[in-house]
Symmetry: C2
DNA sequence: CTCTGACGTTCCAACTGTGACATGTCAAAG
DNA sequence: CTTTGACATGTCACAGTTGGAACGTCAGAG
Protein backbone atom coordinates (compact mmCIF):
# COMPACT_ATOMS: atom_id res chain seq x y z
CA UNK A 1 0.00 0.00 0.00
CA UNK A 2 2.54 2.54 1.14
CA UNK A 3 5.21 3.93 -1.11
CA UNK A 4 7.60 3.79 1.84
CA UNK A 5 7.81 0.03 1.54
CA UNK A 6 9.68 0.16 -1.73
CA UNK A 7 13.25 -1.07 -1.53
CA UNK A 8 15.98 1.06 -2.96
CA UNK A 9 18.68 -0.52 -5.11
CA UNK A 10 21.95 -1.40 -3.39
CA UNK A 11 24.41 0.70 -5.34
CA UNK A 12 27.37 -0.61 -3.38
CA UNK A 13 29.58 0.17 -6.34
CA UNK A 14 28.77 3.79 -5.68
CA UNK A 15 29.87 3.42 -2.07
CA UNK A 16 32.99 1.54 -3.04
CA UNK A 17 33.95 4.50 -5.25
CA UNK A 18 33.13 6.95 -2.48
CA UNK A 19 35.29 4.91 -0.12
CA UNK A 20 38.24 4.96 -2.47
CA UNK A 21 37.86 8.67 -3.14
CA UNK A 22 37.72 9.37 0.58
CA UNK A 23 41.45 8.60 0.62
CA UNK A 24 42.15 11.26 -2.02
CA UNK A 25 41.21 12.33 -5.56
CA UNK A 26 41.61 9.89 -8.45
CA UNK A 27 40.63 9.36 -12.08
CA UNK A 28 38.41 6.60 -13.42
CA UNK A 29 41.51 4.87 -14.65
CA UNK A 30 43.15 5.05 -11.22
CA UNK A 31 40.04 3.69 -9.56
CA UNK A 32 39.87 0.86 -12.07
CA UNK A 33 43.39 -0.22 -11.12
CA UNK A 34 42.49 -0.13 -7.45
CA UNK A 35 39.40 -2.21 -8.07
CA UNK A 36 41.46 -4.76 -9.97
CA UNK A 37 44.16 -4.95 -7.34
CA UNK A 38 42.67 -4.55 -3.91
CA UNK A 39 38.88 -4.76 -4.24
CA UNK A 40 38.78 -7.58 -6.83
CA UNK A 41 37.79 -10.19 -4.24
CA UNK A 42 35.26 -8.07 -2.45
CA UNK A 43 33.55 -5.92 -5.04
CA UNK A 44 34.74 -6.37 -8.64
CA UNK A 45 33.84 -3.68 -11.15
CA UNK A 46 34.33 -3.33 -14.87
CA UNK A 47 35.58 -0.25 -16.64
CA UNK A 48 32.25 0.53 -18.29
CA UNK A 49 30.48 0.33 -14.98
CA UNK A 50 32.99 2.58 -13.30
CA UNK A 51 33.01 5.39 -15.83
CA UNK A 52 29.24 5.58 -16.10
CA UNK A 53 28.86 5.43 -12.33
CA UNK A 54 31.35 8.29 -11.93
CA UNK A 55 29.31 10.40 -14.31
CA UNK A 56 26.11 9.62 -12.44
CA UNK A 57 27.79 10.41 -9.13
CA UNK A 58 29.08 13.73 -10.46
CA UNK A 59 25.55 14.55 -11.57
CA UNK A 60 24.25 13.64 -8.12
CA UNK A 61 26.84 15.90 -6.51
CA UNK A 62 28.64 13.14 -4.63
CA UNK A 63 31.90 13.75 -6.47
CA UNK A 64 33.44 16.65 -8.37
CA UNK A 65 35.60 16.61 -11.48
CA UNK A 66 38.48 18.44 -9.82
CA UNK A 67 41.19 18.66 -12.46
CA UNK A 68 41.76 17.83 -16.12
CA UNK A 69 45.08 16.15 -16.83
CA UNK A 70 46.78 15.04 -20.03
CA UNK A 71 45.07 12.53 -22.36
CA UNK A 72 41.65 13.74 -21.23
CA UNK A 73 42.29 12.50 -17.72
CA UNK A 74 39.56 13.62 -15.35
CA UNK A 75 40.37 13.61 -11.68
CA UNK A 76 37.47 13.26 -9.30
CA UNK A 77 37.30 14.35 -5.68
CA UNK A 78 34.69 13.40 -3.12
CA UNK A 79 32.36 16.20 -1.99
CA UNK A 80 30.96 16.84 1.47
CA UNK A 81 27.69 15.34 0.30
CA UNK A 82 29.61 12.28 -0.88
CA UNK A 83 31.35 11.93 2.47
CA UNK A 84 28.01 12.22 4.25
CA UNK A 85 26.52 9.54 2.04
CA UNK A 86 29.51 7.26 2.64
CA UNK A 87 29.30 7.65 6.42
CA UNK A 88 25.54 7.11 6.32
CA UNK A 89 26.02 3.88 4.36
CA UNK A 90 28.76 2.70 6.73
CA UNK A 91 26.79 3.22 9.91
CA UNK A 92 23.08 3.14 9.10
CA UNK A 93 22.60 0.73 6.20
CA UNK A 94 22.38 -2.94 7.05
CA UNK A 95 24.81 -5.04 5.02
CA UNK A 96 23.11 -7.40 2.60
CA UNK A 97 23.98 -10.87 3.84
CA UNK A 98 22.57 -12.87 0.94
CA UNK A 99 25.54 -14.41 -0.74
CA UNK A 100 25.15 -16.53 -3.86
CA UNK A 101 27.56 -19.43 -4.06
CA UNK A 102 27.50 -21.83 -6.96
CA UNK A 103 30.23 -23.82 -5.19
CA UNK A 104 27.83 -24.52 -2.33
CA UNK A 105 24.86 -24.94 -4.66
CA UNK A 106 26.62 -27.91 -6.24
CA UNK A 107 27.00 -29.51 -2.80
CA UNK A 108 23.21 -29.76 -2.52
CA UNK A 109 23.12 -31.87 -5.65
CA UNK A 110 26.18 -34.05 -5.15
CA UNK A 111 23.87 -37.07 -5.01
CA UNK A 112 23.39 -36.93 -8.79
CA UNK A 113 27.02 -37.92 -9.37
CA UNK A 114 28.78 -41.06 -8.12
CA UNK A 115 30.36 -40.76 -4.64
CA UNK A 116 33.92 -40.88 -5.93
CA UNK A 117 33.21 -37.83 -8.10
CA UNK A 118 31.59 -36.08 -5.16
CA UNK A 119 34.75 -36.66 -3.13
CA UNK A 120 36.82 -35.40 -6.04
CA UNK A 121 34.71 -32.24 -6.16
CA UNK A 122 35.31 -31.55 -2.49
CA UNK A 123 38.99 -32.28 -2.94
CA UNK A 124 39.22 -29.64 -5.66
CA UNK A 125 37.67 -27.07 -3.35
CA UNK A 126 40.25 -27.89 -0.68
CA UNK A 127 43.08 -27.55 -3.20
CA UNK A 128 41.80 -24.19 -4.32
CA UNK A 129 41.45 -22.99 -0.75
CA UNK A 130 45.03 -24.01 0.00
CA UNK A 131 46.37 -22.18 -3.05
CA UNK A 132 44.50 -19.01 -2.21
CA UNK A 133 45.54 -19.30 1.41
CA UNK A 134 49.20 -19.47 0.39
CA UNK A 135 48.78 -16.33 -1.72
CA UNK A 136 47.06 -14.51 1.15
CA UNK A 137 49.77 -15.52 3.62
CA UNK A 138 52.35 -14.06 1.29
CA UNK A 139 50.50 -10.74 1.11
CA UNK A 140 50.17 -10.86 4.88
CA UNK A 141 53.95 -11.16 5.25
CA UNK A 142 54.58 -8.35 2.80
CA UNK A 143 52.43 -5.84 4.71
CA UNK A 144 53.41 -7.02 8.18
CA UNK A 145 55.74 -4.05 8.73
CA UNK A 146 53.30 -1.18 8.22
CA UNK A 147 51.24 -0.09 11.17
CA UNK A 148 49.45 3.06 10.01
CA UNK A 149 45.71 3.53 10.40
CA UNK A 150 44.90 2.40 6.87
CA UNK A 151 47.00 -0.75 7.11
CA UNK A 152 45.04 -1.82 10.18
CA UNK A 153 41.80 -2.09 8.23
CA UNK A 154 43.46 -3.67 5.21
CA UNK A 155 44.93 -6.29 7.51
CA UNK A 156 41.55 -6.95 9.07
CA UNK A 157 39.97 -7.53 5.66
CA UNK A 158 42.84 -9.79 4.62
CA UNK A 159 42.50 -11.76 7.83
CA UNK A 160 38.89 -12.42 6.88
CA UNK A 161 40.13 -13.98 3.64
CA UNK A 162 42.72 -16.10 5.44
CA UNK A 163 40.21 -17.38 7.96
CA UNK A 164 37.62 -18.01 5.26
CA UNK A 165 40.03 -20.13 3.24
CA UNK A 166 41.09 -22.05 6.33
CA UNK A 167 37.44 -22.68 7.02
CA UNK A 168 36.80 -23.99 3.50
CA UNK A 169 39.87 -26.21 3.74
CA UNK A 170 38.92 -27.89 6.99
CA UNK A 171 35.27 -28.11 5.98
CA UNK A 172 36.19 -29.79 2.70
CA UNK A 173 38.42 -32.29 4.46
CA UNK A 174 35.74 -33.04 7.01
CA UNK A 175 33.12 -33.43 4.25
CA UNK A 176 35.26 -35.94 2.37
CA UNK A 177 35.56 -38.08 5.49
CA UNK A 178 31.85 -37.76 6.09
CA UNK A 179 31.14 -39.02 2.59
CA UNK A 180 33.47 -41.96 2.91
CA UNK A 181 31.89 -42.85 6.23
CA UNK A 182 28.41 -42.68 4.68
CA UNK A 183 29.56 -44.80 1.71
CA UNK A 184 30.92 -47.40 4.14
CA UNK A 185 27.63 -47.53 6.07
CA UNK A 186 25.50 -47.93 2.94
CA UNK A 187 28.34 -49.96 1.40
CA UNK B 1 40.78 -12.68 -31.93
CA UNK B 2 39.18 -16.05 -31.51
CA UNK B 3 35.49 -16.54 -30.91
CA UNK B 4 36.33 -19.33 -28.51
CA UNK B 5 37.40 -16.81 -25.93
CA UNK B 6 33.88 -15.59 -25.32
CA UNK B 7 32.51 -16.40 -21.87
CA UNK B 8 29.11 -17.96 -21.58
CA UNK B 9 26.69 -16.62 -18.99
CA UNK B 10 26.46 -18.45 -15.66
CA UNK B 11 22.87 -19.59 -15.58
CA UNK B 12 23.27 -21.20 -12.18
CA UNK B 13 19.56 -20.69 -11.62
CA UNK B 14 19.02 -23.14 -14.44
CA UNK B 15 21.25 -25.67 -12.74
CA UNK B 16 19.62 -25.12 -9.39
CA UNK B 17 16.27 -25.96 -11.00
CA UNK B 18 17.76 -29.02 -12.69
CA UNK B 19 19.17 -30.11 -9.34
CA UNK B 20 15.82 -29.81 -7.61
CA UNK B 21 14.01 -31.60 -10.43
CA UNK B 22 16.57 -34.41 -10.32
CA UNK B 23 14.91 -35.45 -7.06
CA UNK B 24 11.51 -35.72 -8.74
CA UNK B 25 8.96 -33.73 -10.77
CA UNK B 26 7.59 -30.47 -9.43
CA UNK B 27 5.66 -27.38 -10.48
CA UNK B 28 6.98 -23.84 -10.57
CA UNK B 29 5.10 -23.18 -7.38
CA UNK B 30 6.68 -26.19 -5.66
CA UNK B 31 10.12 -25.11 -6.77
CA UNK B 32 9.52 -21.60 -5.52
CA UNK B 33 8.74 -22.95 -2.05
CA UNK B 34 11.91 -25.04 -2.10
CA UNK B 35 13.97 -22.04 -3.14
CA UNK B 36 12.49 -20.00 -0.32
CA UNK B 37 13.07 -22.67 2.29
CA UNK B 38 16.24 -24.54 1.54
CA UNK B 39 18.12 -22.64 -1.16
CA UNK B 40 17.42 -19.12 0.12
CA UNK B 41 20.91 -18.70 1.54
CA UNK B 42 22.75 -20.19 -1.40
CA UNK B 43 20.88 -19.18 -4.52
CA UNK B 44 17.75 -17.08 -3.97
CA UNK B 45 15.28 -16.82 -6.83
CA UNK B 46 12.10 -14.87 -7.35
CA UNK B 47 8.88 -16.19 -8.77
CA UNK B 48 9.10 -14.29 -12.03
CA UNK B 49 12.61 -15.57 -12.64
CA UNK B 50 11.61 -19.14 -11.93
CA UNK B 51 8.60 -19.32 -14.20
CA UNK B 52 10.35 -17.74 -17.15
CA UNK B 53 13.41 -19.92 -16.66
CA UNK B 54 11.20 -23.02 -16.61
CA UNK B 55 9.68 -22.01 -19.93
CA UNK B 56 13.11 -21.44 -21.44
CA UNK B 57 14.31 -24.77 -20.11
CA UNK B 58 11.31 -26.57 -21.55
CA UNK B 59 12.05 -24.95 -24.90
CA UNK B 60 15.68 -26.07 -24.63
CA UNK B 61 14.54 -29.63 -23.89
CA UNK B 62 16.09 -29.78 -20.43
CA UNK B 63 12.73 -30.30 -18.75
CA UNK B 64 9.31 -31.55 -19.85
CA UNK B 65 5.88 -30.38 -18.80
CA UNK B 66 4.84 -33.81 -17.52
CA UNK B 67 1.32 -33.36 -16.21
CA UNK B 68 -1.35 -30.68 -15.92
CA UNK B 69 -2.96 -30.53 -12.51
CA UNK B 70 -5.85 -28.47 -11.18
CA UNK B 71 -5.66 -24.64 -11.24
CA UNK B 72 -3.46 -24.76 -14.33
CA UNK B 73 -0.69 -26.43 -12.38
CA UNK B 74 2.09 -27.60 -14.69
CA UNK B 75 4.36 -30.28 -13.36
CA UNK B 76 7.82 -30.41 -14.85
CA UNK B 77 10.15 -33.39 -15.01
CA UNK B 78 13.85 -33.40 -15.83
CA UNK B 79 14.79 -34.98 -19.17
CA UNK B 80 17.86 -37.07 -20.01
CA UNK B 81 19.36 -34.00 -21.65
CA UNK B 82 18.69 -32.06 -18.47
CA UNK B 83 20.38 -34.70 -16.34
CA UNK B 84 23.37 -34.69 -18.68
CA UNK B 85 23.61 -30.93 -18.44
CA UNK B 86 23.37 -31.07 -14.65
CA UNK B 87 26.15 -33.67 -14.38
CA UNK B 88 28.29 -31.73 -16.82
CA UNK B 89 27.90 -28.58 -14.73
CA UNK B 90 28.67 -30.47 -11.53
CA UNK B 91 31.86 -32.08 -12.75
CA UNK B 92 33.30 -29.97 -15.58
CA UNK B 93 32.37 -26.36 -14.90
CA UNK B 94 34.61 -24.46 -12.52
CA UNK B 95 32.66 -22.77 -9.73
CA UNK B 96 32.75 -19.01 -9.86
CA UNK B 97 34.62 -17.94 -6.75
CA UNK B 98 34.05 -14.20 -7.01
CA UNK B 99 31.85 -13.30 -4.11
CA UNK B 100 30.65 -9.77 -3.57
CA UNK B 101 30.38 -8.77 0.07
CA UNK B 102 29.24 -5.34 1.09
CA UNK B 103 29.88 -6.32 4.70
CA UNK B 104 33.58 -6.73 3.93
CA UNK B 105 33.62 -3.75 1.58
CA UNK B 106 32.71 -1.55 4.53
CA UNK B 107 35.69 -2.89 6.47
CA UNK B 108 38.03 -1.37 3.87
CA UNK B 109 36.61 2.05 4.63
CA UNK B 110 36.24 1.88 8.39
CA UNK B 111 38.82 4.67 8.67
CA UNK B 112 36.22 7.23 7.54
CA UNK B 113 34.25 6.75 10.76
CA UNK B 114 35.53 7.23 14.33
CA UNK B 115 37.13 4.14 15.92
CA UNK B 116 34.31 3.62 18.40
CA UNK B 117 31.84 3.35 15.50
CA UNK B 118 34.16 0.97 13.71
CA UNK B 119 34.21 -1.27 16.78
CA UNK B 120 30.45 -1.02 16.95
CA UNK B 121 30.18 -2.12 13.33
CA UNK B 122 32.31 -5.19 13.98
CA UNK B 123 30.29 -5.93 17.09
CA UNK B 124 27.09 -5.93 15.07
CA UNK B 125 28.57 -8.46 12.66
CA UNK B 126 29.50 -10.72 15.57
CA UNK B 127 25.98 -10.46 16.98
CA UNK B 128 24.46 -11.34 13.67
CA UNK B 129 26.79 -14.31 13.25
CA UNK B 130 25.85 -15.61 16.69
CA UNK B 131 22.14 -15.32 15.96
CA UNK B 132 22.45 -17.14 12.65
CA UNK B 133 24.69 -19.74 14.26
CA UNK B 134 22.04 -20.45 16.88
CA UNK B 135 19.43 -20.91 14.15
CA UNK B 136 21.72 -23.25 12.21
CA UNK B 137 22.52 -25.32 15.31
CA UNK B 138 18.81 -25.78 15.84
CA UNK B 139 18.31 -27.03 12.30
CA UNK B 140 21.32 -29.28 12.79
CA UNK B 141 19.69 -30.87 15.85
CA UNK B 142 16.40 -31.34 14.05
CA UNK B 143 17.93 -33.31 11.17
CA UNK B 144 20.44 -35.21 13.30
CA UNK B 145 18.42 -38.42 13.15
CA UNK B 146 18.13 -38.92 9.40
CA UNK B 147 21.00 -40.66 7.68
CA UNK B 148 19.81 -41.21 4.12
CA UNK B 149 21.89 -40.22 1.12
CA UNK B 150 20.19 -36.85 0.63
CA UNK B 151 20.53 -35.88 4.28
CA UNK B 152 24.28 -36.40 4.05
CA UNK B 153 24.70 -33.63 1.50
CA UNK B 154 22.22 -31.35 3.20
CA UNK B 155 24.20 -31.76 6.41
CA UNK B 156 27.44 -30.97 4.62
CA UNK B 157 25.99 -27.74 3.21
CA UNK B 158 24.61 -26.80 6.62
CA UNK B 159 27.98 -27.49 8.22
CA UNK B 160 29.48 -24.96 5.82
CA UNK B 161 27.06 -22.37 7.18
CA UNK B 162 27.86 -23.24 10.78
CA UNK B 163 31.60 -23.04 10.21
CA UNK B 164 31.25 -19.82 8.24
CA UNK B 165 29.32 -18.15 11.03
CA UNK B 166 31.82 -19.36 13.62
CA UNK B 167 34.56 -17.90 11.46
CA UNK B 168 32.83 -14.52 11.22
CA UNK B 169 32.25 -14.51 14.96
CA UNK B 170 35.86 -15.17 15.95
CA UNK B 171 37.17 -12.89 13.20
CA UNK B 172 34.96 -10.05 14.41
CA UNK B 173 36.06 -10.51 18.00
CA UNK B 174 39.71 -10.59 16.95
CA UNK B 175 39.23 -7.47 14.80
CA UNK B 176 37.71 -5.52 17.68
CA UNK B 177 40.72 -6.28 19.83
CA UNK B 178 43.03 -5.39 16.99
CA UNK B 179 41.34 -2.01 16.67
CA UNK B 180 41.52 -1.29 20.36
CA UNK B 181 45.18 -2.24 20.38
CA UNK B 182 45.85 0.09 17.43
CA UNK B 183 43.93 2.91 19.13
CA UNK B 184 46.05 2.44 22.24
CA UNK B 185 49.29 2.60 20.24
CA UNK B 186 48.32 5.79 18.43
CA UNK B 187 46.55 6.95 21.61
C1' DC C 1 -23.21 -18.38 -0.30
C1' DT C 2 -19.49 -15.43 0.15
C1' DC C 3 -15.13 -14.40 1.54
C1' DT C 4 -10.48 -15.47 2.50
C1' DG C 5 -6.28 -17.43 1.66
C1' DA C 6 -3.42 -20.67 -0.46
C1' DC C 7 -2.49 -22.31 -5.03
C1' DG C 8 -0.79 -21.26 -9.57
C1' DT C 9 0.88 -18.81 -13.80
C1' DT C 10 2.24 -14.83 -16.82
C1' DC C 11 4.04 -10.40 -18.10
C1' DC C 12 6.47 -6.06 -17.48
C1' DA C 13 9.58 -2.15 -16.05
C1' DA C 14 13.81 -0.96 -13.99
C1' DC C 15 18.43 -1.65 -12.68
C1' DT C 16 22.98 -4.00 -12.39
C1' DG C 17 26.73 -6.27 -14.35
C1' DT C 18 29.45 -8.02 -18.33
C1' DG C 19 31.99 -8.01 -22.53
C1' DA C 20 32.96 -5.90 -26.73
C1' DC C 21 33.70 -2.08 -29.52
C1' DA C 22 35.16 2.64 -30.56
C1' DT C 23 38.18 6.45 -29.93
C1' DG C 24 42.04 8.91 -28.90
C1' DT C 25 46.74 10.56 -26.34
C1' DC C 26 51.32 10.15 -25.04
C1' DA C 27 56.10 8.22 -24.06
C1' DA C 28 59.62 5.19 -25.03
C1' DA C 29 61.87 1.57 -27.63
C1' DG C 30 63.65 0.11 -31.94
C1' DC D 1 59.80 7.68 -37.73
C1' DT D 2 57.01 3.97 -36.73
C1' DT D 3 55.27 0.85 -33.65
C1' DT D 4 54.02 -0.73 -29.27
C1' DG D 5 51.92 -0.40 -24.99
C1' DA D 6 50.21 2.09 -21.14
C1' DC D 7 47.01 5.78 -20.30
C1' DA D 8 42.25 7.37 -20.64
C1' DT D 9 37.24 7.69 -21.59
C1' DG D 10 32.72 6.64 -23.71
C1' DT D 11 28.93 3.70 -25.55
C1' DC D 12 26.25 -0.37 -26.76
C1' DA D 13 23.74 -4.79 -26.49
C1' DC D 14 22.62 -8.53 -23.73
C1' DA D 15 21.62 -11.30 -19.78
C1' DG D 16 20.42 -11.81 -14.87
C1' DT D 17 17.79 -10.10 -10.84
C1' DT D 18 14.12 -7.78 -8.56
C1' DG D 19 9.60 -6.22 -7.45
C1' DG D 20 5.16 -5.58 -8.74
C1' DA D 21 0.77 -5.99 -11.24
C1' DA D 22 -2.54 -8.84 -13.18
C1' DC D 23 -5.17 -12.81 -13.69
C1' DG D 24 -7.52 -16.97 -12.45
C1' DT D 25 -8.71 -21.57 -9.48
C1' DC D 26 -10.03 -24.13 -5.65
C1' DA D 27 -11.07 -25.55 -0.70
C1' DG D 28 -12.62 -24.42 3.61
C1' DA D 29 -14.41 -21.23 7.23
C1' DG D 30 -18.10 -18.45 8.68
Amino acid sequence: MSMLECKLPDMSLRHAVLGLLSAGPASGYDLLKTFEISLANVWPATQSQLYSELNRMAEAGLVQAAAEGPRGRKEYAITDAGLDELRHWMTEVEPDRVRRSDMLLRVFFLNVIPPHQAVEYLHKQVDHAEETLAAYEEIKQSIAGEDDRLAVYGRIALEWGVRYMEMVRTWGQWAQQELQAAAATHQ
